[in-house]
Amino acid sequence: MLTEAKRVTKFVLQYFSANLQSAMEYRGAFLSQIIFMFVNNIMLLFFWWVLFSKIESLNGWSFQHIMRLYAIASGAYAVKAILFGGSFSLSSTIAEGGLDFYLALPKPVLLHVLVSRSFASAWGDLVFGLAIFLLTVSPSIGMLLAFVILILAGGLVMTSFAVIAHSLSFWVGYGARLADELTEALLTFSLYPEGIFSAVTRWVLYTLIPAGFVSYLPVRIMDEFSWPYVGLLGFFVLGIVLVARFIFYRGLKRYESGNLVVTNAAG
């Protein structure tokens, strides 16, 4: 188990460094993308800044909470886009026969597809997330570590959710569009405070569209640390990773039998 985890981590990091080197080939574009993304995210905070100049708190949420929410959601998104960038285009990889290549290599197919791509602009999200996170806490190594752990958890939830959504392409044609809408919805909900939503909506946000585990619960853990919360988060992350894996490999069986909806026949 432990050696396996070590091997997986090593594999992810190797792809990470190759992707990073690749992005560095165009240093100028890389830097400007980071800056654009950084400014872009600051703009989104602007609305909350205006709103909180008019009101004191929002169901217990202050501007500082919003900043942490943004920090963790952007960081989680960055984890997904930098480490597991393949999750963005998984359905087209499936539909266009791109899995063949990974099937011929001796590494877990799903993990290999996920780590094979990386988005340089997401470094802007990461820098932004870290910067505003540090504005809301007294910086220390412990806090930094907490941030890293929380965004890794959120990133895994986002990635797993994307894998589930994109795996629909194994069963239905035009799955790409649906998957894009679903992952976009998860990201959007992760950027709004839990406090504004009705009870029913909240329930959905902790189950079907798990924005609660991407950002709400992590923010709460920062606020009032408790082991049950941490346990709940860890339990959910593990659960959704396993579910995503299960669904993907179920779909892969269909792929291996060549009976996809979008079979490009013989060749």
Partner: protein, 268 residues
């Protein structure tokens, strides 16, 4: 810019019509892209109800007003067609040279296409947004008697948006890559166009800046007129829209003249 003679008006109307029908073909596709509109409206319906729950107001609007305000700002922005990309490409590739000897004005051609497409997208997006707002927040108190004025303001906003995008597209004459300008502009629209909250709610400094910039007159002002009509506000808005339309027309015309000269010098 050339002046339009009555006889010429017909062909521009036809351009607008074609661009409009062209859009109808993609209606299904278009409705699918409205999902994001519904998502953001859903979030804000809950947000405003929480923030402005019992009789609270922000910049004079209650929660219902706020959501309807957002329906209009969002619909204006997502209905704005992307002809500026086409123009940028034509300028960069030099294809614009071929379009120049056709018997129409390049600028007016794209203005017509812009308006045609904007109109159809506006109506369909508004239908979706309005149904949603009606179901979640209840009806909008429309000032029916003054609706004519509001429509005039929306039309001016449409022209204003075109002029902003078109002039930035023409920057392609001088800049290899003009995308950063569009990017900056979209951020300015977000803030100074008051996408989420009326600019009247901003702190004094930002409010004044937004009064001076054209973005507010293209997005926030007409939306606000629609949800909270007021004559004093109307005259202020129309004046602002008129001034900015004039300034941007002059700038566009000057840029176009200078740019086209470069095309002729460089041989396209």
């Amino acid at each position: 810019m050339q002046l339009v003679r009555a006889g010429h008006l017909k062909k521009y109307l036809q351009v607008a019509e074609i661009s409009l029908t062209n859009r109808v073909v993609y209606l299904a596709d278009h409705f699918a892209s409205s999902i994001f509109l519904l998502l953001i409206l859903f979030i804000f319906s809950q947000l405003w109800r929480t923030v402005l729950g019992a009789g609270g107001t922000l910049a004079g609007l209650d929660s219902t007003g706020m959501l309807w305000y957002m329906v209009f700002t969002e619909v204006i922005v997502i209905s704005t067609p992307a002809y500026h990309r086409l123009v940028s490409d034509e300028v960069k590739s030099g294809d614009i040279a071929y379009k120049l000897n056709r018997p129409y004005s390049y600028t007016l051609y794209y203005l017509a296409a812009h308006c045609g497409e904007f109109a159809i997208r506006f109506v369909t997006n508004l239908a979706i947004g309005a149904v949603f707002a009606y179901l979640t927040m209840g009806p909008l108190q429309v000032a029916w008697a003054q609706l004519g004025w509001v429509i005039i303001s929306f039309s001016l906003a449409m022209v204003l948006t075109f002029l902003m995008n078109f002039s930035l597209a023409l920057l392609a004459f001088w800049f290899e890559d003009n995308r950063p300008f569009f990017w900056i502009q979209s951020k300015l629209v977000f803030i100074f166009g008051g996408m989420f909250v009326p600019v009247e709610a901003y702190p004094a400094g930002l409010r004044i800046v937004s009064y001076l910039l054209p973005m507010r007159y293209g997005v926030s002002a007409p939306a606000r007129l629609m949800v909270d009509f007021d004559y004093a506000f109307l005259w202020q808005v129309l004046l602002g829209q008129f001034i900015w339309a004039t300034i941007l027309s002059l700038i566009t015309a000057a840029m176009f003249q200078k740019g086209v000269r470069r095309v002729h010098v460089n041989g396209g």
